[in-house]
């Protein structure tokens, strides 16, 4: 687990261009939204935009470096090396997650620092709750990434293209830059219920509550409970489905399934 975490960190910081891209995109999107809110006099939303910049970095990492990674590993022949070793595939995924989280922290810090220096967003934080919320949000997000990684192994590139399709819509409905659930949401209640099944939605709702004392969709503790359940459930699904996939591979000679 530790070794895979280190590989992720070495890879993230081993390519200067990737560092620029992984920091640049969240910084720019956060700045753009912050400036928009500032210019229309919605100063109380600037904090949401800065928080969104932080979380979009983690969300991108979950999609492109967690969900897709095993599929890329399979194409390169690395997945077979994992399978023929005594190492646990779930432990490798957990290591990948830890490396991804630690490797994304500098981006999160830079986005926060720039947002803070330029806009001084009003914060009314309960820091203990923020820490717990942040940890549970990341746990559920990365556990979702583990589940997606097994899905992407099954459907290969066809499923990976879902990343492209879903990234922006999920970013929008999960409320990365504005509250998508609760009293401040522009969405109908039914849609709010549906999008609450995405851990990012509840995580953002909980983070806004704990950082800015913003009104939430449900109470902070309900958010945290749901995030904890999601983290455990996604982790269990990932472990089970990866084991099942390994057996399918041994039985059928392939783990891929064609959609068409």
């Amino acid at each position: 687990m530790k070794a895979r975490a280190l590989v992720r960190l070495w890879s993230i910081f081993g390519e200067p261009l990737w560092i620029v891209v992984s920091i640049g995109f969240p910084v720019l999107s956060s700045l753009a939204l912050s400036l928009l809110y500032y210019s229309i006099g919605a100063g109380n939303y600037i904090g949401f935009a800065v928080l969104g910049g932080v979380m979009v970095a983690f969300w991108g990492n979950v999609l492109w470096s967690m969900a897709s990674q095993f599929n890329w590993d399979k194409q390169e022949g690395l997945f077979e090396i994992y399978l023929t070793s005594p190492a646990s595939i779930t432990a490798i995924l957990v290591g990948m997650s830890v490396g991804g989280i630690v490797g994304t922290v500098p981006t999160a810090v830079i986005v926060t620092a720039i947002g803070w220096v330029l806009f001084h967003p009003a914060v009314a934080a309960s820091w203990g709750a923020v820490a717990i919320t942040f940890a549970l949000t990341l746990a559920s997000l990365y556990a979702l990434g583990m589940t997606l990684s097994s899905l992407y192994l099954v459907y290969g590139r066809e499923a990976e293209s879902m990343n492209e399709v879903l990234q922006e819509p999920v970013s929008m409905v999960s409320g990365l830059y504005f509250p998508s659930v609760g009293s401040l949401s522009p969405f109908p209640f039914a849609l709010q219920i549906v999008v609450s099944l995405i851990p990012l939605t509840l995580g953002m709702d909980a983070l806004r509550q704990s950082l800015f004392s913003s009104p939430g969709f449900v109470s902070l503790w309900v958010d945290l409970g749901a995030l904890a359940v999601m983290a455990v459930a996604f982790l269990a699904i990932a472990a089970f489905s990866l084991k099942a996939l390994e057996m399918k591979g041994r039985r059928d000679g392939t783990i891929s399934v064609r959609i068409r």
Binding site: S11, I81, A87
Partner: protein
């Protein structure tokens, strides 16, 4: 049957079928063999013969549909976790490394999949790199390594965990002669000095002749001959006949009619308007018969000579055609 007292690999009646749209495809059809400790065992055959399927079953990536196989006494079907602790594998086709980290860090990472203490892993990386001539390139990022050095790193990875048995699938494919030779020297030394068992799937005859203690020739999922390379070649009894013929014949059916001709392969040289035909014969009389048949068909035999039999000719003698022709038959 094995020359060694301890068996590392035991395969008995191994079968594997794959489903396909046109019905079941038999990749392995009742293969049995034993490989002894410290032996380099070659599995030789054309593409599609079943070599890779066998390696994948033995390395726990695939389940057999019949028969049984054990590696170091552990059943590959029911005890894959135990098998995985004592084996490693590599393929010449794999990339097997993360591009943006160094070769050394890649090797260290792969050692950790086997739970090796870091200090031991570092020592092993140093030893393997020195033996494989990789030391100068250890700190280079994986993407910056040439194909040859990347393959050396892949071979180092396959030995990183001090495995008892190593499965290699075409380990020198696409490599230059010097790199391929240095990898073969390394494999030879790992087997003889460290008692490691190496099972090598390949269609490279020269590789098998150079390093394998024993070889099984496999065709259409069945072992058609097994023994030391020398034993197999001796079975032919007579050397092969090579003839250069002009103009290149459209077909070689006339040779099939000659008594004592076991098989043949040919290659055309369009520039010289010549065909080089290798004929596997049972006797000198069959050689003369083949030359006469060629002349009688209106072709000029520009030159002819006898040469020592190779493993390809053993294969030709057994199935009547060469690897290339067999691959075309299987593919069609």
């Amino acid at each position: 049957m094995t020359r060694e007292s301890t068996r590392s690999v035991e395969v008995s009646g191994l079968k594997r079928e794959f489903k396909s749209k046109s019905g079941p495809v038999v990749a392995l059809d009742g293969v049995s063999l034993d490989v002894g400790e410290g032996e380099i065992f070659g599995v030789l055959g054309p593409n599609g013969a079943g070599k890779t399927t066998m390696i994948r079953i033995l390395s726990t990536l695939l389940l057999p549909t019949g028969g049984a196989a054990k590696v170091m006494g552990f059943d590959v079907e029911h005890e894959p976790e135990k098998v995985r602790r004592v084996i490693n594998m590599a393929s010449g086709a794999e990339k097997a490394g993360y591009d943006f980290i160094s070769a050394k860090r890649n090797l260290w990472f792969f050692s950790q999949l086997y739970g090796m203490p870091s200090a031991l892993a570092e020592k092993r990386i140093t030893e393997l790199s020195e033996t494989l001539g990789l030391t100068k390139y250890l700190d280079r990022k994986f993407y910056a390594l040439s194909t040859g050095y990347r393959q050396r790193a892949t071979i180092a990875r396959a030995f990183i965990n001090d495995p008892k048995v190593v499965f290699l699938d075409e380990p020198t494919i696409g490599l230059d002669v010097m790199t391929a030779r240095s990898i073969r020297d390394f494999l030879r030394s790992e087997a003889s000095k460290n008692g490691r068992t190496i099972m090598l799937a390949t269609h490279n005859m020269a590789e098998v002749e150079a390093i394998c203690d024993r070889v099984a020739i496999i065709d259409k999922g069945k072992i058609i001959a097994a023994g030391t390379p020398e034993e197999l070649k001796r079975r032919l009894g007579a050397p092969a006949l090579v003839m250069e013929v002009s103009p290149p014949p459209k077909d070689l059916e006339m040779l099939r009619l000659v008594a004592g001709v076991k098989g043949f392969t040919s290659s055309a040289d369009d520039e010289r308007e010549l065909s080089t035909i290798q004929v596997v014969v049972e006797s000198d009389a069959a050689s003369k018969g083949a030359l006469d048949a060629m002349t009688a068909s209106g072709h000029k035999v520009v030159a002819s000579w006898r040469k020592e039999a190779t493993l390809e000719e053993v294969f030709v003698a057994l199935v009547g055609s060469g690897f290339k022709e067999r691959e075309e038959e299987v593919g069609s």
